[in-house]
Symmetry: C2
Subunit: 234 residues, 2 copies
């Protein structure tokens, strides 16, 4: 990479959450010949918008396209400045690494996350990675630098914003049971059905529709959809 | 400023919301001899954590200390790259401005906000500013670069996170009426009392305490406090 092609000191990292009805997963890359595991990340071209750089970079590194990425935090502690890690990665690629290489400088990283159905996509590692694979969120490999901290903050943000993110993971109309299973996978804990239903119904987030008839009609559950903002006026 | 003292290409801007029972305000600075209005902002030292830089910079520029700042978004569009604006600011200070000055480069800005009681603090402009003053949020001067966009995004974030931010602005125990007046000031609209009370009480956010006795006891309102997370278990 040409040092004049990219902004120095600024990187991005992306936490791609994958969910498909069971455990919540995260996409992790392994750098070539290093056994170093990391979030997919990259750099910003000098004439490129930050958000465009992240979309472009994620596609180049993982093959994933048309992912809705949301920025959630920018990491700028001194503790994340460990030039020896980048040096190891570059040496794993057989690159010569002069001590004043721009990639060995301090980087502030803008972090993004996305939540997708992992069965709908096939991630592919780029030329500098040995793998690009889904890991269960509670069973990640040891990650470089502050990437575990970035994952933790992404997870915290995802949980806080849960109600707004679920539309990616559910059909337009869904049953209360389907909704609860998504909540449970993301929160990582079982919820009591009665409490869950009471809170959700009190929240004004849902609109109730017809029942889901599937043969024996007398136990058919109601279908719900998320209320749009114009439904929320009180 | 010595170019080696600060990271190039990285800035911060802070949106300081002030509230004291009436209109929501924002702290705006006017650069010396320019009539250019801007959010208080600055740069990150090469060996300084990003969050520390913002606290230090805000104190140096406005005199405000011990402010709880929260990061909310990093702005990195190309449209914010307008070196002529920075040139005007530097010329207003009688600085000589070589065309390759590092301050004329492209900057990505990490934005922070805070919500404080503006009657508790006295902001003071720094040496490069003619003023550092509270403006009503609905009556701001024209701001440089994308600073109005930064304000809009801060306001959007503040409104989304309203429930978690109010503890700065209310006594530990408060009446429903006090709570509603804070919501109204921040949302910028009047709310219907009955709807407001019903939603807040259904939200599990509040814990009800004793009544506030203030003489004539029969109309004494209840006092509330915010539920801590351990109160929220279902």
């Amino acid at each position: 990479m040409n040092p004049k092609e990219f902004l120095p000191h600024i990187a991005y990292d992306s936490v791609i959450f994958g969910f498909s009805g069971d455990k919540l997963k995260i996409l992790i890359m392994e750098y070539h010949n290093t056994r170093l595991f990391a979030l997919p990340g990259g750099f910003v071209r000098t004439n490129e918008a930050l958000n465009d750089a992240v979309r472009r970079g994620l596609k180049e590194r993982t093959g994933l396209d048309d992912i809705f990425l949301e920025q959630f935090y920018t990491f700028g502690d001194m503790a994340r400045f460990k030039p020896e890690v980048m040096k190891t990665i570059m040496q794993g690629l057989n690159d010569k690494v002069p001590d004043n290489h721009w990639l060995l400088d301090r980087f502030i990283s803008v972090a993004y996350y996305a939540l997708i159905d992992y069965k709908q996509v096939v991630p592919r590692p780029d030329a500098i990675s040995d793998s690009c694979t889904w890991y269960d969120v509670d069973n990640l490999p040891v990650l470089i630098l502050d990437h575990q901290k970035i994952v933790d903050k992404a997870l915290q943000t995802l949980r806080q914003n849960l109600d707004h993110k679920l539309t990616n993971l559910l059909p337009e109309k869904f049953t209360m049971k389907e909704l609860q299973s998504v909540y449970e996978a993301i929160l990582g804990e079982k919820l009591r059905r009665t409490t869950f239903q009471r809170k959700l119904l009190a929240s004004d987030l849902l609109v109730r529709h017809e029942k889901l008839y599937n043969g024996g009609a007398h136990k058919a559950p109601f279908l719900y959809s998320f209320a749009r903002s114009e439904d929320l006026e009180g």
